[in-house]
């Protein structure tokens, strides 16, 4: 595998074609292949079942053409023993197979596809290169239907009772993308039971799909599709909202298949002795959401329950953190330190550039005339040495380059080869090993962006390779040695907010060995959890909360600050200073990282007679009654739960996620207190996502009545002769209904603090709903855009207790990855200010998303901008925006990019020939002036 350079020659010559499983068998691959273009490591492997040589003993084409001798037919599967202290299982799920019990005709028509197949159809790297066509005849479709809950929320043979949690949102996404891909207006319809867009910002997405993209949403469970082989169309029958029977034909029908657990995962769990639930998901409890039944074994992702990417990523951090706590004592015991040679000071030297042009076997040399590129490079200014390599990335070539740098006293290096995205670090290490600064280097991309994409135009490709080498050589001549700023990290953490998330974050930090401050503005810990009765799994919240509070109160590494308010914040990642007011006394806390867990609260509604009639209560108030065993509940004859009070309305467009489950659980509780009680739940979409669907099923069998009301029509709570009445329109019966009730429970929304002062203090953004924004929903779901600040709990988005806890663990774990470094080496390519030129206009200060520029507080340059190199990400936004030309970006400075552009043409005809290492500011001034005059 070390020898494979991913040139792809083997796959090109391999005669055996096989269905490509990555494209859901819609396209073909070879018997030697990479799973997909972005695979890491990018190495080809042989599919032994289909390889002609391995199955029949002849062929051997791949070994013949492989330029590096990487093919090894003898390679065998090996058993490897690893000694580990913790295990994390993240084996995931697989899509439901609709062909097994084929009630939808999936195997009968090519135009009935699963949602995953449709993803591949839409993908530009997929079987049709992103061109949206019907698989049967490659015609562009006019109408596409999505059928929800395929294999989910279905107790029939082969299907699963739970909700797969992700399919509603992905169907909306696919329909939106399909519309974007289509040249002609495309009609899209999603047939659903309940739209469950319960994740953060998903409801906005649903609204966009409905209102802006014009996706039709039809509430109807489709049980039969009739394919017509002559037209390639699929017929679907359904009852529309007016009660009329409809028949519609679609070009493509997409089955929104659910997630399920495969046999292999079950065997793994069995081998490891981990308990699974009746659906084969790993059993966990809400307070230890990543812990399996076996000590030391942790779980994350969809093997625990059906879940989306953000939740899976959050859980993966949480599981890593829990595994890390187990291994705390052995931390740093297996690390090795690398010896780095002393760096040669090149200041004042004229550039001596070495250009190494890679043949990459035949990958480059098969198209580009490499010797002529080398000859051209030799004639470029400051080039002392130019030659070609067979494989620049191989270890022996690396050593050879190191020696040449030393021998020829090179002080700049250009490698013309593959791409800096994968190989920059490797070649920079070569420079470091040769004793020169790693920033005296750049790459010309003559493989990925040249030979590979111009394979049929060798002459043009050679010309392009020459141009690219010339351009980058002109730039490298102007490169300078850069230092990487280092940052000491204060070894303690601050957690703001003493609710469940805050407690758990503090506990996780302390368990990892870090001193932690926990700030709570109220006099007690616990936050909203103090008012909660049970989790959806029936665990008693008060008992667990009391245990959690006790454990952090006893923890010597945790300082709890109650009745504490934050007055001001100074500093940045690694060195925060938070000024607090604790019971009237001012204090300052120093900490390296900050975790925000400030929570949210339940809306106190101003509708539905809430506050006017004490028989109208909120969900949390019912929880209180249940905690205190309220006697009046026993004598209640009728109870009505009203869902989405304050949520999913124009003023608050988001879904509060937890209320559907909370209402079902409490409805069941009321039924158990008084089985004769009439319990109604009036809803818009029932969102008992994931395994919570079981609770919904149980409630229906136990006689809780679920009625979908028409949100567009009148909805009123009135009192008539002291009798509470709810008036609404039933969507199924399409008529006005009235229920007389003794108790009305409002499933009231979760509201964040809209103008949270912490947002400005820690420079974290809030979304339109007032929830704090993560840096990236999927890639960095607990990090803030501001370095060193992390998020968890309700202040991030509405979520149930188990998700708050895993997010708190995840936030603390992400924080530990920073703290554990003790010192951070930042990138050398950062901005700097020529303060003589700065006009103090403040554009850089206001424009930087990372708060790196600020005004110098005192001294000769008071009021001028300065850059904190530790916070700078090197994007260059400030540099491009500076009106005075005072800002510069190391490694990508204006004169360097100009030099690159100027070398576009043959050297003789351009105005190149700039001298490097002369005072650059003058040179740059001329350039700037010249350009400004254009």
């Amino acid at each position: 595998m070390d020898k494979c350079i991913a040139c792809g020659l083997c796959a090109e010559k391999c005669p055996k074609k096989v269905d490509n499983e990555y494209d859901e068998a819609l396209g073909k691959r070879k018997a030697i292949y990479v799973k997909y273009a972005q695979a890491v490591p990018l190495k080809y492997s042989i599919d032994a079942k289909n390889c002609i040589f391995l199955t029949m003993g002849k062929c051997g084409k791949c070994a013949e053409v492989c330029p590096t001798g990487a093919i090894n037919y003898e390679d065998q599967q090996k058993d490897i023993t690893l000694n580990v202290g913790s295990v994390i299982i993240s084996s995931g799920c697989k899509p439901y197979d609709p062909g097994k019990h084929d009630v939808y005709g999936y195997t009968k028509s090519k135009n009935i596809v699963t949602s995953l197949e449709f993803e591949r159809i839409l993908s530009s790297a997929g079987p049709y290169e992103g061109h949206l066509v019907r698989p049967s005849d490659k015609k562009e479709p006019k109408k596409i239907a999505w059928l929800q809950c395929i294999g989910s929320r279905d107790n029939h043979l082969g299907a699963n009772g739970y909700c797969s949690s992700v399919c509603c949102t992905y169907a909306v996404k696919e329909a939106m993308l399909a519309k974007e891909h289509s040249h002609d207006p495309l009609d899209t319809a999603i047939f659903y039971m309940d739209i469950r867009t319960h994740g953060k910002d998903y409801e906005h997405f649903y609204n966009r799909g409905k209102d802006e993209s014009g996706i039709r949403f039809v509430k109807s469970k489709i049980t039969n599709i009739v394919p017509d082989s002559e037209t390639g169309l699929q017929l679907i029958n359904y009852i529309d909202e007016t009660g009329t029977r409809q028949e519609e034909a679609f070009d493509i029908v997409v089955l929104s298949v659910g997630l399920c657990i495969g046999e292999e995962a079950v065997q793994l769990a069995d081998k490891m002795n981990i308990s699974l639930d009746h659906y084969n998901f790993v059993t966990t409890n809400s307070f230890e959401p990543v812990k399996t039944s076996k000590p030391g074994v942790f779980i994350c992702g969809a093997f625990e329950a059906p879940k989306d990417i953000p939740s899976s990523v959050i859980e993966s951090s949480a599981a890593a953190g829990m595994a890390g706590i187990n291994l705390m004592e052995s931390r740093w015991t297996l690390t090795k330190t690398k010896e780095i040679p002393e760096e040669i000071n090149i200041t004042g030297e004229a550039p001596r550039i070495g250009v190494f042009v890679c043949r990459c076997g035949t990958n480059i040399a098969g198209v580009v005339d490499v010797p002529s590129v080398v000859e051209m490079a030799k004639k470029l200014p400051y080039v002392e040495y130019a030659d070609e390599n067979m494989f620049s990335c191989s270890q022996d070539t690396q050593d050879a380059i190191t020696n040449i740098i030393k021998e020829k006293k090179l002080n700049r290096v250009v490698i013309a080869a593959c791409t800096p995205k994968t190989h920059e670090g490797l070649f920079q290490e070569t420079l470091t090993n040769a004793g020169i600064n790693k920033y005296l280097f750049d790459m010309a991309n003559i493989r990925n962006q040249c030979s590979w994409i111009h394979a049929k135009e060798p002459e043009k490709a050679t010309q392009k390779a020459k141009d690219l080498v010339r351009m980058i050589t002109a730039k490298v001549a102007l490169h300078e040695s850069l230092t990487e700023p280092t940052l000491e990290i204060d070894q303690s953490g601050l957690v703001i907010g003493g609710g469940v998330a805050g407690i758990m974050a503090a506990k996780t930090l302390a368990n990892q060995g870090y001193h932690t401050h926990l700030i709570e503005k109220e006099a007690v810990l616990g936050g909203q959890a103090n008012k909660l009765y049970q989790t959806w799994q029936g665990e008693d919240i008060q008992t667990h909360l009391a245990e959690m509070i006790k454990s952090i109160e006893e923890d010597k590494l945790i300082d709890i600050h109650l009745n504490t308010d934050i007055t001001n914040v100074d500093g940045f990642v690694g060195n925060f200073e938070t000024h607090i007011n604790k019971n009237g006394t001012a204090d300052t806390l120093k900490h390296g990282i900050t975790i925000i867990a400030t929570g949210a609260s339940e809306l106190k509604p101003e509708t539905h007679l809430y506050g006017e009639d004490d028989r109208v209560i909120t969900g949390l108030e019912l929880d209180q009654k249940l905690i205190h065993h309220d006697e009046t509940l026993k004598s209640t004859n009728t109870a009505v739960f009203i869902q989405c009070v304050g949520s999913r309305i124009p003023e608050r467009p988001y879904c509060s996620k937890i209320c559907c489950t909370q209402s079902i659980r409490n409805a069941l509780k009321l039924k158990s207190i008084n089985p004769e009680m009439n319990v109604f739940i009036l809803y818009r979409d029932m969102r008992s996502f994931g395994l919570r669907e079981d609770l919904y099923t149980e409630a229906r069998t136990k006689g809780v009545q679920f009625i979908k009301f028409d949100f567009e029509k009148e909805f009123k709570v009135t009192v008539n002769k002291d009798q509470l009445q709810v008036l609404f329109s039933d969507t199924s019966l399409r008529r006005k209904m009235e229920i007389k009730s003794d108790l009305i429970v409002l499933a009231s929304s979760i509201v964040p603090e809209k103008k949270n002062k912490l947002a400005a203090m820690y420079k974290i953004a809030q979304n339109a709903d007032g929830f704090f924004m993560e840096a990236h929903a999927k890639l960095k779901p607990v990090d803030c855009a501001t370095d060193g600040v992390f998020l968890c709990g309700l202040s991030h988005a509405p979520k149930p207790i188990d998700e708050s806890i895993s997010q708190a663990m995840a936030a603390a774990t992400r924080a530990v990855t920073l703290l554990a470094k003790k010192k951070m080496n930042m990138d050398g390519t950062v901005a700097w200010v020529d303060q003589e030129k700065c006009s103090s206009c403040g554009v850089c200060v206001s424009i930087c998303p990372f708060s790196a520029p600020s005004f110098t507080a005192e001294g000769r340059y008071e009021g001028k901008a300065e850059i904190n190199p530790v916070l700078c990400k090197g994007c260059g936004l400030c540099v491009a925006s500076c009106r005075s030309g005072a800002l510069h970006l190391k490694g990508f400075d204006t004169h360097q990019i100009f030099a690159q552009i100027s070398a576009l043409d043959e050297f003789e005809s351009s105005n190149g020939g700039q001298t490097a290492d002369t005072p650059k500011t003058d040179k740059e001034n001329e350039k700037d002036a010249a350009t400004a005059a254009v």
């Binding site: 995205k421 991309n445 962006q449 111009h454 394979a455 994007c875 491009a880 970006l889 552009i901």
Partner: protein, 66 residues
């Protein structure tokens, strides 16, 4: 048009479009060889000066992507 040697300078963001240009190569897509790519750390780095400079150096078109 087809005989004329075009010169297109493209400024691509290191994090997205430059990576996409790499991926086009990995996927062996084929497109005309008239583009010269300049890698920039972010399109935020893009200055109008670069575009003017590219035209001054004889570029027929400039493409900024990020």
């Amino acid at each position: 048009m087809s005989d004329k040697k075009l010169k297109i300078i493209s400024f691509l963001c290191n994090w997205c479009s430059y990576g996409a240009a790499d991926l086009a190569g990995v996927s062996r897509m084929q497109y005309p060889a008239d583009i010269r790519i300049v890698r920039i750390p972010c399109t935020g780095r893009m200055s109008p000066k670069f575009i003017l400079s590219a035209f001054r150096e004889g570029a027929d078109a400039v493409w900024v992507s990020g």
